[in-house]
Symmetry: D2
Subunit: 329 residues, 4 copies
């Protein structure tokens, strides 16, 4: 049991790797529509970042036979926390060992979530140094605001699908120090959704039950605008450039976030995030529990206002499989 | 020296007490224009909260002969941290001792900043329980969104004036665990502004040099909207209802925040905050330093775009004194 | 045939009368949620206006056994145009004759649309004179911005259901001088939707085919915000105060408007309008035709982005009748 | 005297020609920052349009020795109105005669305002036909929303400086059929500002007294966003790309418009327009008069909220001359 005086081992979501069968179209989308900047290429991978991401990359896109999650990298709260966590994960039997690093960061410890998602922890990162023609006079902005698309500001969170939510949620809480901010219970009080964070955000990671029963799939990666008008702007661009919108703009009950869900050309679901939802500063936060056996919670948790959730929201993930009828909500 | 593995003793800004010579006008402003809800009265004090503030109150308004700061209350990250901090402040010779508590919270340890601002630390808080007619179906919202004015969502930060910035900044870092997020240097590298936080916000507290040389004054208290349009909305209301706007809407270079500064009828400066600026997740954040001997920093730090800062911004604080000519910027 | 040098006889939508079986709830909605101001009561009717409506009222709410449209009043472009139109409508056999006037306006000529909607034309209007405590210093604003709800700024347009769109559209063009801005064709090129205006707006009046085959029903009355954020704001209030949202926020393809559709407590559909869509200044405008036999037009005309249209959008109108299955879109 | 039944001869602002001593920088600004599309080049002139402008161009940029206005082109309400107006202007002694046309439009009748601004009237226009890769599925949008900068939607209005406001305003009313929507009176009831329109906008043309006493200068050309957030967005871009902001974002009292004033690299002042202000549908509109001898009007007319007007606003126009001290406001 971690002491209440200690920081959680994980400090932040550092980057996400997405797999895509259509590398060029996926890159076009992230660069021209979302305004990301390419920082490097290596083999079949391209490294990208949003203009307010401080490190070498927040997104790695790798060509593959199918869409899906490559890995999720977390930066620890200190180098000591990295060492300690590696030992602890090793002891827990889920560790895969150290890698030397990748473009943009140093040694990383790899491990799997109970559902099989590839995670890694790291400490050393390369900070992005903008070339002179891209430098901003705004000293807390690592790069000038791009002139392309509706530029998103930073990576926000990741949402994974889990065949069984509870063990994955416990793992994040116990091994990595996440706080359980919100929880959604289905029939028989089964956990069907969980939102966790180590920061003041309601979540850096969420997980939803995979209605298809598959393991280790990705629900979505979210990038942050912070301004709701930009959800309208990006939706307008998507409609005009043939990017499929799954749903939105609207507002979730859980997390209170303004959202827009779209599919990048490779097939991965991407969320654009119009605000920060509410922020949690309470050091003694009591998990908000939504119970879908309660009619109001059933109706308000997923959608506070805006479009109803389509079935795809429950059974489409990447890699994609044959959709299966969803019955919970 | 605090270990990097330990949480900072302070977790959040819990509430602020403002003094006003015009209690009824000040309350009208906070309730009808900013949409705060009154939760209790005691003697010459009225307790208020914004609709997404979770505790009994985030603002205490107390009638007094002049406008100004009553006190600033910080919630610690744990009960243990409260005990340890009290001992440490006692040892540092700045402690004033425990009070039993106040409406809405338990025992608090009082102390003074080097410049003489009244601070307190506390752990036990009463959570706001909305009466049934005010309850929201949104389970992470402690109260329905009010129908009055342009309702602000929560207390965000406080900005204090200091006769000398550096000792106050050091005190916040060393005694309370704040991180120095941004710093502004004037002539001769003197510190003239500092932004500090224990959260992912750029600041829960900022301090600016008091150009008048006075001690212990308040620059402003900030409430959060999160949506820039609401700055236009509240500015429109202020113009229509005779609330003086000092400057805005605009965007600061430091903190990147969308701001509007107004004076509540009692004379205290209030900031309305249209977004969250940028958020800091980097556990190894390097302080952003703006040096006003650099022309670009001089021009861009205070104002990235929007109205120039009027002289009042440098010399008006509460309690107000005769303004003195400001020379730095 | 009207000369191209002549103004259209109708200049603007002056006011709309809504019927409601729940007068007090309907008034609570318009006053506390939409921020309308009551100007007068007479018998079972209450007169209201938005804060940027210049006349005595833009909405008359009348208690009745069922929800629905009372009448739609148009102001002519001149007193001469009123006289000429009355004669012309009389000759066309659709005139019902003059009434002396009502609260807020002088003599009006009444007539029916081909589908049986009650219309009237008028010239003399009473301008709203705000009492001193409501006066704005903004000389082009007839009243201070109210402190209640998310106040809407003005009446925008009306949308009527028609058993057969074409004759109603022809009537508006030929008798009242409306321009056909956009048109939607269904199977066999039947007209299923028409948007008409005499101003630079895309429509002051629209009509959609009533999938139930009923005559003379109301689809919705629209009030204008002009700022898309206010659609999010009002949707948030509706969710928190139990006002049913039918769909939105989203953006129509036709008219390009940001919309939100809700039901006022009496059962009438109300649209809140977040911008002005696009404006038409071209004096030689060619009607934009959407043909739902074209897949792209079918998908993009009603919804450019945002929630799909629910079935209710095609068959719910007031007075409400048993919904009938809709087959066109 | 024109009959009240007749349309005004002018229907809309068709395009504006700007002169610039820095053609390439000016084009970079309009294309990369404001997202305009180049449609054609001829000699030293480049033709551009915003993505919701329906004609061949709304802006002609011509290289010249100095910044300034080339000409302002108005489209008439009919071909007959063009013929009649040409005769009438000829008779009034201000006509300069017909030109055969220019790229994008047919024969035009040229004439001078009393202050010497070059005007022209035209009827025949070429509609923009987007190449297939730029076509939108939104049938009322002549081109897909560009991916460059913060793309503005259309030309909105022009503001000219006049050595003497009254004769110019009378000319627009009497010869071209404009309505006087708002008026600003200075000392001795002299007219110092006038806002005129033939549409529902408060102005397609405004004029302000030139404090330097010069004749025929340009104050600014305005492009329309319609969404206030875009003023923040474009201000952010301007700050990041070295485009000088004169003032804003803020809200005028006259016209109620959200504004941002910047200088394009060639030196012409450009306004970006965040909303449509209020719209005028009243066919019997009484001019709103602001009298700066009244303290409230003095303070509220130019700025309802936001940054104070800098002196440059009164004495900088293009071509630029030595600024002269301004004394009225």
């Amino acid at each position: 049991m971690r002491s209440r005086l200690e920081k959680p081992p994980v400090a932040q979501l550092a980057h996400v790797e997405l797999l895509t069968p259509k590398l060029e179209e996926t890159l076009w989308f992230f660069k021209e529509i979302l305004g990301l900047t390419e920082t490097e290429r290596k083999g079949q991978s391209v490294y990208l970042r949003a203009y307010e991401d401080f490190y070498h990359h927040s997104l790695k896109v790798t060509e593959a036979s199918h869409a899906g999650l490559g890995h999720i990298a977390w930066r620890t709260s200190s180098p000591e926390a990295l060492e300690e966590s590696a030992i602890s994960l090793e002891e827990a039997g889920v560790g895969q060992g150290w890698i030397e690093g990748d473009r943009g960061h140093g040694p990383a410890y790899q491990f799997l979530s109970p559902d099989g998602h590839q995670f890694e922890l790291l400490w050393d990162v390369d900070y992005y140094k903008a070339p002179s023609e891209e430098k901003s006079l705004l000293k807390n902005r690592p790069q000038r605001r791009p002139l392309r698309g509706v530029p998103t500001r930073r990576l926000d969170h990741v949402n994974i699908m889990a065949s069984d939510v509870e063990p994955n949620q416990n793992f994040l809480q116990n091994e990595l120090g996440f706080n359980l901010r919100e929880l959604k219970l289905g029939e028989g009080k089964t956990q069907i959704g969980a939102w966790l964070s180590v920061s003041n955000l309601v979540h850096e990671i969420a997980m939803v039950r995979d209605a298809t029963g598959q393991k280790g799939r990705l629900h979505h990666v979210a990038f942050w605008y912070g301004y709701p008008q930009h959800l309208f702007d990006i939706a307008d661009l998507c409609a005009d450039y043939g990017i499929e919108i799954e749903m939105g703009p609207g507002k979730h009950g859980t997390t209170q976030a303004y959202f827009l869900y779209i599919y990048e050309p490779g097939g991965n679901r991407i969320e654009l995030f119009g605000d920060s939802g509410y922020l949690i500063f309470d050091p003694d936060w009591e998990t908000v529990v939504w119970d879908v056996s309660n009619k109001s919670d059933l109706e308000k948790s997923s959608i506070w206002f805006g479009p109803r959730l389509p079935e795809s929201f429950y059974n489409y993930g990447t890699p994609s499989v044959q959709p299966v009828k969803q019955t919970i909500e």
